[in-house]
């Protein structure tokens, strides 16, 4: 090797090293909290999708995609003389988060109050990126008992006494059961996972030509709910120490869950069609699946795609199967109002966030028009909600099942890079179920990938 080549190699190696180091980045924790503003007129010319009811009053801008939200906003505006809500739909979930990120980059353009799913909140409260306002400074802790324990913990983001959102809805994890199919083939509805697998075999033996259920390979939040049932935390993250994360896909619980489903799929008892696709909708409404373990908000979705959403579909809601008596109640999905650091008048934004859904009238719109499962305890305790008959479920008073689950749910945490984690989890599921990779191998590879990614992003990994 001559001198010039050596020199070139050294330079190249140096460049590589620098670029790799640059990839590592460093987001040091400044611990700075989101700022509080008091400009009461900045939103006077804001452009709103809804019609403002009272003019000459301070406005608060809100982004949300809840079904029926326009009615809720109108309800708020009619009942408030000092504040008016100016609402826009910033997009559904991911679309809205991208917009919010763009507005953060631009330093302007974010709404005062924003609807965020619990799982999306950490990404806006991490490292130097602290864009949600702590609502405890306005005394929100006094309202703790108005919300279920699990939803409250979800908006605390791992802190002890801070609150970064006002819980709105939840998704109690339950089991949809085609009772008519179980009756027809003389099989008992399972209550444990052992019985569940058994029921699959019995149905098949009795001549049912569908599947026991579907285990969608694009399931993201659903899989986390399954993991949570084992009592293991797959993720650990706290806004009080926002540069530290813990990823634990190697846990016994995660392995147990995936091995269980792998076996059922291999035996041909369970389908693996991607959820919320047209094929899947056709299957589930066409009686191809005897059960479907999912959050209770699925009812509205299924009813809307049926020929007649008010006709008895044969589905009934049961408690989700458990591993044993210690299996906790779990939740899938749900969202909250968060106040952004770009709020023009932070305290007014807090008032709107807290009061938008805090009335019987708004809650009823949410439950009936929106099909939301509320996190607001007075609604959960009301006879109206407890005895609500659901036509699609053959007039079952399904909330008798779902309310205890929502109340029993204790909350769990998500990662500040949840979208990335979901993508990787997706790939892992495909490799286990389509390429037959061993469950432990695949999970530990996923664990490594996410831990490395966390390190690259500048997080301390436990």
């Amino acid at each position: 090797m001559n001198k010039a080549t050596k020199l070139l190699a050294a330079v190249a190696a140096g460049v590589m090293a620098v670029s790799i180091a640059a990839c590592g980045g460093s987001s040091s924790s400044s611990g700075s909290s989101a700022s509080v503003n008091t400009d009461k007129t900045a939103n006077d010319n804001a452009s709103c999708t809804n019609t403002i009811k009272k003019t000459g009053v301070e406005k608060v801008t809100v982004w949300a995609w809840y079904p029926g939200i326009q009615d809720v906003v109108d309800d708020f505006n009619e009942n408030h003389d000092d504040l008016q809500v100016c609402w826009n739909n910033g997009g559904q979930g991911g679309g809205e988060y991208t917009k919010f990120q763009n507005a953060i980059k631009a330093g302007t353009g974010a709404p005062d109050v924003i609807q965020l799913e619990y799982e999306a909140m950490p990404q806006f409260m991490t490292g130097n990126e602290q864009h949600l306002v702590d609502l405890s400074q306005f005394g929100f802790n006094d309202y703790k008992d108005d919300y279920t324990a699990g939803s409250w913990k979800s908006v605390q983001l791992g802190t002890d006494d801070k609150v970064y959102g006002v819980p709105v809805d939840l998704g109690p994890f339950v089991m949809y059961v085609r009772e008519d199919i179980f009756k027809q083939y003389g099989v008992d509805v399972p209550t444990t996972w052992d019985e569940f697998a058994e029921a699959g075999k019995e149905l098949k033996a009795a001549g049912y030509d569908g599947y026991l259920t579907d285990f969608p390979l694009n399931s993201t939040a659903m899989l986390l709910a399954f993991f949570a049932q084992t009592g293991d935390d797959v993720y650990t993250y706290s806004a009080s120490d926002p540069t530290k994360v813990k990823v634990n896909y190697n846990s016994d619980g995660a392995q147990k869950v995936l091995k269980y489903w792998k076996e059922l799929v291999d035996e041909g008892l369970v389908d693996t069609t991607d959820a919320n696709t047209t094929d899947w909708t056709t299957n589930i409404l066409g009686g191809k699946y005897a059960t479907w373990v999912q959050a209770s908000w699925q009812t509205g979705y299924l009813a809307a795609d049926s020929d007649d959403g008010d006709a008895d579909s044969g589905f009934r809601i049961y408690k989700a199967p458990v591993w044993d008596s210690s299996t906790p109640d779990v939740n899938q999905g749900g969202s909250a109002w968060a106040v952004t650091d770009q709020a023009k008048d932070t305290e007014a934004a807090y008032t709107v966030a807290r009061e938008l859904f805090s009335s019987d009238s708004a809650q009823k719109i949410g439950v009936t028009t929106g099909g939301l499962f509320p996190a607001w305890t007075s609604m959960l305790d009301s006879d109206y909600f407890k005895t609500e008959k659901i036509a699609f479920l053959g007039d079952q008073e399904a909330n008798e099942i779902t309310i205890p689950v929502a109340e029993g749910y204790k909350g769990y945490s998500f990662l500040p890079f949840q979208t990335y984690a979901y993508d990787e989890q997706d790939k892992t599921l495909k490799s286990i179920f389509q390429d037959n990779t061993d469950v432990s191998t695949a999970l530990s590879a996923l664990d490594d990938t996410l831990n490395n990614y966390a390190k690259q992003q500048g997080y301390t990994v436990e």
């Binding site: 739909n89 910033g90 559904q92 980059k105 056709t282 409404l285 979705y301 795609d305």
Partner: protein, 315 residues
């Protein structure tokens, strides 16, 4: 207009000539030709099916109810027993206070106004590049050529950040202003002016005592009309189909063009949660939204072709 007619008759003449030549060869090669024809026709039919099938699907889907889309009795490519097109259109008028028609109106504003303004700029710029000598002309034109190479999607985020700085995000201007930038139009206009507008004509006008403006409006503009129409069509269609930019810069759904609005309904339907499912409105709304473009295509066909070939041949 005169140029266009002249071109048309000229090419018609050429066709007759070609046909005559073909007739002479025909006897010799009839057999091979026949086989070739079968092959060509099969390929064309396959290609036609390939391109028309999605359109057919859309037409059929537009007539279905929500559940008809999932459980249509005759599959995805044939009408379901319940013909719901009319119901869907009625629902489009009432759902979310008929915001669908607002979106159509917005699309027309963005497409027609934006297209018009961008054409005016393209015409002026192209004419200037073709007929005037000025400092840095080459550099500026290279800049235009360079801009042709940058996909407009790549500029969306920078545009968003700029618009944020000047407080124009979430206004119609955020969509209209970037539409004005149309390097392809400038390029087409320059080439067209160079080829079809002789310097001598402009010289003659000047000698006769016409000012620059008068020369432009009375002499140059009439000759440029076919190219102007083409550029206007291209930019209008581009603006009508524009999606990513309005998606990023608009939040108020009253300002959405039809592309972004329908996407919002689609993701709302897909969200899985208890959202309202409006698949039937997405399909029938998409169907209605392509009608203006289909009409534009049918009635203004020759200008499109003109656009494709303008500047491709150097005389």
């Amino acid at each position: 207009m005169s140029t266009a007619t002249f071109n048309a008759s000229q090419s018609a003449g050429r066709n007759t000539e070609r046909r005559r030549n073909r007739g002479a060869e025909k006897a010799k090669t009839n057999k091979i030709r026949g086989n070739k024809h079968v092959f060509t026709i099969v390929v064309l039919i396959v290609a036609m099916l390939y391109f028309l099938l999605p359109v057919w699907w859309l037409i059929v889907a537009a007539t279905k109810t929500n559940s008809g889309l999932f459980f249509g009795e005759h599959g995805a490519l044939w009408f379901a027993n319940k013909f719901a097109l009319w119901d869907n259109i009625k629902q489009l008028c009432t759902y979310q206070n008929g915001i669908y028609w607002r979106w159509i109106l917005n699309s027309f504003i963005y497409a027609l106004l934006g297209g018009l303004a961008s054409t005016v700029i393209s015409v002026c710029a192209g004419y200037g590049f073709a007929k005037f000598q000025f400092r840095g002309k080459k550099a500026f034109f290279n800049l235009v050529l360079g801009a042709l190479m940058i996909p407009s999607t790549a500029l969306v985020i920078p545009i968003f950040l700029l618009m944020s700085k000047v407080g124009m995000v979430n206004t119609m201007w955020a969509v209209l202003l970037p539409t004005l930038l149309n390097p392809m139009g400038v390029y087409l206009m320059r080439i067209y002016c160079q080829e079809s507008l002789p310097d001598e004509m402009i010289e003659a006008a000047r000698v006769d005592g016409a000012g620059e403006l008068r020369t432009f409006f009375k002499v140059s503009l009439p000759i440029m009309t076919p190219a102007i129409t083409t550029v206007y069509l291209l930019s209008t269609v581009g603006a009508w189909n524009n999606f990513f930019l309005p998606q990023v810069v608009l939040t108020n759904s009253k300002l959405f063009p039809i592309t972004v609005g329908l996407t919002q309904w689609q993701s709302q339907s897909q969200a899985g949660a208890a959202s309202e499912q409006v698949w039937n409105l997405v399909t029938s709304g998409s169907f209605i939204s392509i009608i203006p473009m289909v009409l534009a295509f049918l009635f203004l066909q020759r200008y499109w072709v003109g656009g494709l070939t303008a500047g491709s041949v150097k005389s």
